[in-house]
Symmetry: D2
Subunit: 299 residues, 4 copies
Amino acid sequence: MASATTAAGTPGQRAHDTARLLVSCADGPGIVAAITTFLADRGANIITSDQYSTDPEGGRFFMRLVFHLPGVGGALGELREAFDREVAAPRGMRFHVNDAAVPKRVAVMVSRYDHCLLDLLWRTRRGELDMEIGLVVSNWPDLAAEVERFGVPYEHVPVTKETKPQAEERELELMGGGAFDLIVLARYMQVLSSDFLDRIGTPIINIHHSFLPAFAGAGPYERAKERGVKLIGATAHYVTEDLDEGPIIEQDVIRVSHRDSAEDLTRMGADIERQVLNRAVKWHCEDRILVHGNSTVVF
Amino acid sequence: MASATTAAGTPGQRAHDTARLLVSCADGPGIVAAITTFLADRGANIITSDQYSTDPEGGRFFMRLVFHLPGVGGALGELREAFDREVAAPRGMRFHVNDAAVPKRVAVMVSRYDHCLLDLLWRTRRGELDMEIGLVVSNWPDLAAEVERFGVPYEHVPVTKETKPQAEERELELMGGGAFDLIVLARYMQVLSSDFLDRIGTPIINIHHSFLPAFAGAGPYERAKERGVKLIGATAHYVTEDLDEGPIIEQDVIRVSHRDSAEDLTRMGADIERQVLNRAVKWHCEDRILVHGNSTVVF
Amino acid sequence: MASATTAAGTPGQRAHDTARLLVSCADGPGIVAAITTFLADRGANIITSDQYSTDPEGGRFFMRLVFHLPGVGGALGELREAFDREVAAPRGMRFHVNDAAVPKRVAVMVSRYDHCLLDLLWRTRRGELDMEIGLVVSNWPDLAAEVERFGVPYEHVPVTKETKPQAEERELELMGGGAFDLIVLARYMQVLSSDFLDRIGTPIINIHHSFLPAFAGAGPYERAKERGVKLIGATAHYVTEDLDEGPIIEQDVIRVSHRDSAEDLTRMGADIERQVLNRAVKWHCEDRILVHGNSTVVF
Amino acid sequence: MASATTAAGTPGQRAHDTARLLVSCADGPGIVAAITTFLADRGANIITSDQYSTDPEGGRFFMRLVFHLPGVGGALGELREAFDREVAAPRGMRFHVNDAAVPKRVAVMVSRYDHCLLDLLWRTRRGELDMEIGLVVSNWPDLAAEVERFGVPYEHVPVTKETKPQAEERELELMGGGAFDLIVLARYMQVLSSDFLDRIGTPIINIHHSFLPAFAGAGPYERAKERGVKLIGATAHYVTEDLDEGPIIEQDVIRVSHRDSAEDLTRMGADIERQVLNRAVKWHCEDRILVHGNSTVVF
């Protein structure tokens, strides 16, 4: 296998022989040895390993391992239990172990801008993203035909100030209950309520069209033009109850000049938005992201 | 002359045959023709011309021209007067015309961080910047020996809460009265008072160690680490009475990761700071910048 | 009009009141004045002006002007004739003047990779590119359905070693005779013959999947992996008889690491290819590019 | 310790309690477990771990570990022996283990351009690079005073076609015999002979002023201008007998335009050269680089 990037679950590799392990715990001596010995004893070969500690003394330890073990996909339950008993529980570790051959099930929420959504649909079809888009939910009907061409169902759930609670109930019906591994807000222009966030039980990634924390909130391109900045950006982050304040996954920028109007910024920014969102979603689907307080560790 | 960038006043070109004209006025038909005909009638050859209008109907027009005219350096007063009478006054234009062979006289203010200051001294010595550094003023004595190696006088003006008014008087003595064309704050950690800014009568460029408007104020690298951003930046701007709110000249960023501590951000950011400041100062010294409200037009 | 970028012919501006003038000639005094006076005398307001001289003494002069003149779209023939007589012919100028409200007619040639083609179709539909795609020609049938969804005809012209002359005849029938203003090779994997290039009479832009002149020819990503470079790139250039040697319009790069396989480079490079091609095509369609020997001047 | 970047040997950390282990061998199961168990058994706490395999089946395995072990600096010989016996020899591993508190001893070779040299001297003085510059060797006398200000000896070894063998003998005397851990060619304009390279026994890093493999050899900026590229770059690589063909460590680029002359490219490129060289030297001094064939693995 030539590359760590593709090591763990590009769509061609569907032999269920590769798994990914994410671990976090209080740092201390012997953690890496305990984990790798556990795997070596079962005949696993570690393909990729990344590790980070906020402070070797009293800090927090994070690790991502990708390992090859014939048949691991059919034996995850047993492996999980043994790892918990032998390694994780004694050290107070939090961990996940996933079959790298199982793509993530993703729902996308969108309003009327199509660029982020189309990019995700198109990259998924090309096999660039280790995921399946099972549903698109929108508060507008506009993009239905475009989405259905990709064989993906489109649910129009209108939202008004009055109907927002019912709309969110419908969204919970459509996307809740563990039906999806990830929800992506691909320029969804409604704020999700705390109640929705409490109940959905699924991580949500949003793309914000500015370089946060600059220009949080509405109209970032207009405000960027007004302030005369020389670079504009986009930010992908996990959604929390504090709008535009969740853990940042990825950011990027593009150079602009006095010649560019707010409309130009909107057009140029659209390119950055889709790239940044694509990277954040890709990393999430490859189990590369660990949340640490209000930050992310991206391996 | 092979390049617009060097067209107007790199140190080797000291024949006083090249001048730079900066113009701004309300937009309308015939402005470019009036200006270029004025120059053509005097036998000038336009080397570089840049132009921008915020809106051809009712907007503001900006222009920078570099032209070649044998002996122009000795005839600027006369040219200025004729241009004002024939072109500028009838149209309510604001304009400057400078001899490209005369480097800008610059004073630098600094505290204890040496990286921005050394970069300016070193680039000036190499002939990269069309300026002469005539004075360094610092509220600390630390960098005196380093500066004096470059043959530049160093004035230590200590500032405490109590002595600030007197300190600023001393700074005005040293740098006021038109002695300098530009003052550069190369990580000067004191806030200049409104009174000082009113009286100094010289443009001031500051380098702020964040991507403004994010992390305005103190401790930007610490706050960037805390917020978990994936890029850090620096911003060069003209100083106004509103701290960190003046017209932005240049910005740039560098990618960081969860592995980088606030100290790493400080070290990595230092590289961006000196590049961004260098570009802003270079453009100012080449008469490339026009201020438009709280933004800049950089030609 | 708020921006030079959009100043000249975004699809909304269809009033035929704006034109673009491109000029090149031997440099000398008075050229700018002659051109701008000609326009001012007709009541035109110059919106944008860019100019470059390789050397004010004995060099070559290049200029792009966008000007507003009510009704100019209906009077281009007359304007062209007057400009030639009064300004261009006496100075040996080459020039073009185009109605900014008339989008360029573009044909795209493609093989089996869809990413560059889809990006062009999609951006054209969104109104980001000042052009109309009138035809897609491919040596493979694969992308027909995808293209036809955009309402664009798709011609499958198979090419084998033996049938290449006939295939090129067919391509000349389809795209020659001035039917198009531009042909874009959006990852078209056949080499066009000198005969074809001589006869087509239309500028052709190609995207090459490396940072030229590195890795000219076949298999650039494989060779980049083998050489162990730390950045990969893409290059958009005008097609000449010397393969991968024509005037470069735009280039960009992306960072890669030892972890990335040749397949990863191919995937990551695809993103750069479509961005670089998009910019080159956009600039061509906005009349921003002048060829100078084997280089380009891009205003 | 807050960061992997600073984890291993910033100048402040001189307690000799941290070491770095670099390993390469044929890949296979159990390698990571064997290494980490060896360390855990001695009470070491792993601070940072990076790993890469070209192919889990039949590929080559690379690892870098930074670990904390009180007193390790005084016990490296013993540790090395035990690791060889228990872990490395049975698996045919190549490995190095270094005390992170011992800075690398570096000699710099330079001709007349000062920018790369000064940047290294200045960063070393600021504590940014985990090294000590013990000697500067130049075929020109020009930079002696500048270097001596930093307290570093400067040896002028003139080189002519006729005296090259004797000059290289003198250079071997000055820098050979294990006196240095690294030699940096900071724009040294002489080609080192195969004989010199065979005998010096020390890794050599060179900065080449182009984006290799484009513009290998002499005059890259002139050739870049002539070819009309839109980005220029610099490449740091290990020196081998094939000029400009050694393993690439780092590369970067900067955007240029038709307006920039070859002199401008030289000036702009100088900034990229010093940044790229700085990163390559920094990584080497932090034991982050493993050579794999003609490529590098940079952790």
